[in-house]
Symmetry: C2
Subunit: 443 residues, 2 copies
């Protein structure tokens, strides 16, 4: 992992810490959301695997160091700093919630405890990878909820914000509850089931639609899905049925999908294929799917692209990565930010999940009652404690966690009251102490 994939200021700060003799300082940083994106009652954590891969492989090659040496920002730095970059590896600790865990505002997705420079440099990458995948996993959970038991497949790579984002979106969508993806590399890398048969260009590549369908059936047999809207959807359905078994079903990709699905269902049934399935694609989202389901449109599988991989109605997470503890010269200080609209709470935290509420306390608390501590050690002293579970397990965890949330929290709109997140008395007390210190200008 190229150490330069970060904001320049992470590296100038690393240089500054070096210059200021703070190479022995340690810090704790937490990644969390201040508030939920619109219409969200939870965020499904995802992206931990990529965060771990990054931390374990983060380094600076000689060319990268040479590039930095030529920047005016590092003109005052001596060779010892560049040597520190050449030797850089992450030696700290990572705590994180398992992928697939629903989280609420103020609850850390992950906590880094490391030498100051090692905790600072990863900020940008961690926010981008955890933030993005959590957005998509959350959107997937909404769409899967709306589909009410019908299957949802992720089809969005072409609309993703870069091809690599498409691979990660496929991963996150699977964690959020999709049954699979069209992204072949995501299947190869992560073992996610892959789906897809043919596009309009396939139909166009043959003299007639019927010939195109026949050729597809030769290739895919019982897995054949005919895309029937290249010329005329109903005619396409009749052409598909005329070829007879075996085939899986048909795909609709344009027009009034609710109406067409009924008409196509009738054509398939009348032709003696009541088992043939109907897949619908084309600018779908959780609201449209909810309506199809509510109206009983005979659609068996929804293929969702754009809105899923971009999380179009909430395409940005407000995730932040903030220093909560700082240790210098053997002395530990709790830190927080009290800017007008952007304040944060001090101290490394733990999230305790009870049946109907969460309690956020300090990492060393153990509150009474039947609860689960969500943040678990993942990397200790730079070493991975154990391999992360496969994505299929994260998906199961996400689906099971959704079922445990109250139904109204799974609504597509904001739920009032939201899930209760309380602060422990110790955390509240610490926060007041830090605020008093900052306001008395001790900082």
């Amino acid at each position: 992992m190229n150490g330069l994939l970060t904001d320049l200021y992470q590296l100038t700060m690393a240089a500054g810490y070096h210059l200021a003799g703070k190479t022995g300082d340690r810090a704790v940083f937490e990644l969390f959301l201040r508030r939920l994106p619109p219409n969200r009652n939870f965020m499904v954590a995802a992206g931990l695997q990529q965060a771990v891969d990054y931390l374990l492989n983060l380094s600076f090659g000689e060319e990268e160091v040479r590039y930095l040496k030529e920047l005016q920002q590092f003109a005052r730095m001596q060779e010892s700093f560049f040597d520190a970059l050449r030797r850089f590896r992450f030696t700290g600790d990572l705590y994180a919630v398992p992928e697939g865990t629903p989280l609420f505002p103020g609850e850390p997705f992950l906590t880094l405890r490391a030498p100051l420079m090692e905790a600072q440099i990863p900020e940008t990458y961690l926010l981008a990878t955890v933030g993005f995948q959590s957005l998509v996993a959350t959107k997937a959970a909404r769409i899967v909820e709306a589909a009410a038991g019908r299957s949802v497949v992720e089809f969005g790579t072409r609309r993703a914000h870069s091809p690599e984002a498409g691979v990660l979106a496929a991963r996150a969508a699977y964690i959020g509850g999709c049954i699979g993806t069209s992204n072949t590399l995501a299947g190869f890398r992560y073992g996610i089931p892959v789906f897809g048969t043919a596009a309009h260009s396939w139909v166009q590549a043959f003299p007639t639609e019927t010939e195109a369908f026949g050729r597809l059936q030769e290739l895919l047999g019982p897995g054949t899905i005919y895309l029937i809207d290249t010329y005329d959807t109903l005619e396409g359905a009749r052409n598909a049925a005329s070829l007879g078994a075996p085939f899986w079903g048909v795909r609709l990709d344009s027009g009034n999908l609710a109406e067409l699905s009924r008409a196509v269902r009738k054509i398939l049934d009348d032709a003696g294929f009541p088992e043939a399935k109907i897949m619908a694609t084309g600018d779908l989202n959780e609201h449209k799917i909810l309506e199809f389901v509510a109206n009983g449109a005979p659609i068996d599988v929804f293929g969702v692209g754009t809105e899923l991989v971009i999380s179009t109605d909430a395409p940005n997470h407000g995730a932040i990565y903030k220093m909560v503890e700082h240790e210098a010269g053997g002395e530990r200080r709790f830190t927080a930010k009290f800017s007008a609209d952007k304040s944060t709470l001090p101290a490394a935290k733990q999230v305790f999940r009870y049946a109907k509420r969460d309690l956020v306390g300090t990492a060393d608390e153990c509150p009474p009652g039947d609860c689960e501590a969500l943040l678990r050690p993942v990397i200790y002293g730079g070493q991975l404690l154990e391999p992360l579970p496969p994505v299929s397990e994260a998906r199961q965890h996400s689906l099971a966690s959704m079922q445990r949330l109250p139904k109204k929290l799974r609504s597509l709109f904001e739920c009032d009251p939201p899930w209760a997140v309380e602060l422990s008395p110790k955390l509240k007390g610490l926060s007041a102490l830090v605020r008093a210190r900052v306001e008395s200008n001790g900082k």
Copy 2:
């Protein structure tokens, strides 16, 4: 470039073409927008370099082939198909508009002319990389227009849809007119100017803000930018001024930026630093910047993150990649799609740009009058004709092209009438012929 980074159906279609004996077929595909995203009067083309890198390096390794062989979709394929994948390389032609060119609906960003399978497989990757970068370059052009001569820097990697998307967003934002980025890897890879000094955690890592500022000044000298809102913005400005020269200026990141910028300007001026600059960051977009500029807020540089790298108000492009010609057994057919709401025009096209309108014709036309043919050959027979220009040149091209557009087209809202895009008589005629053929069921 991993050949699996595509939708599975591209590969099943490749298999199907093989099975159907169509390995000798050739096709022409075009990548274009059906319509502009909301509030857009143009799209700035970007991402060509990544499209070219992909096409020239696209291949399938042995592990990837083994993965495909185990999928049920390829169960009927013989070894000759997998050998074709192992030998795969792009042998076709690519035509494209230069990066930084503003385009309008129906105008190809790029045209691929290649054996059918070689033209089919790249669809997903090309749409994702050209689509995303064009979105960001377009958003950047809007923001730069709103800034009316003040500088705009891209600061959004942490909000991008994955870290790699952040690198590409930095590239596209620069092409769209930003002066640089915070993304260090984008600086390293593409030679884009990089910016950034310190975050709130820097201030928190020292006992007092003044000490933190002093240490930063030691590191950065005249390039020092103090982030002054960790505790209190005006107090921060006074602390910055108290340290004296040299420093570049200060950064505001929260609160009422218009009011604070005036108060901070006064503090800096009163302290004898009228040359010190003010940078503002924090959820900015083109509309807020337009307002700051209109109200004369003394902000010299805008740092824009989230809204730029996500293109929040229009986070998805409707780019499509469609077959327009197909050649089989020595016979060439023009192809088009006539689905209800998704029709396309047949034949490989050229875009002729006149002073006040565009003419879209077939690729072999040469219309009269003073115009420029925008699509140029880039790859011929699988060979790159010449290296693409550096991003700095694409940026100059974009800035110059913007200046040539009528002012009202550069508005932040939809302009009526839009830029005129006419179709040549030949293209209209061809389209009517193809439609007649399809409707007579010849397809």
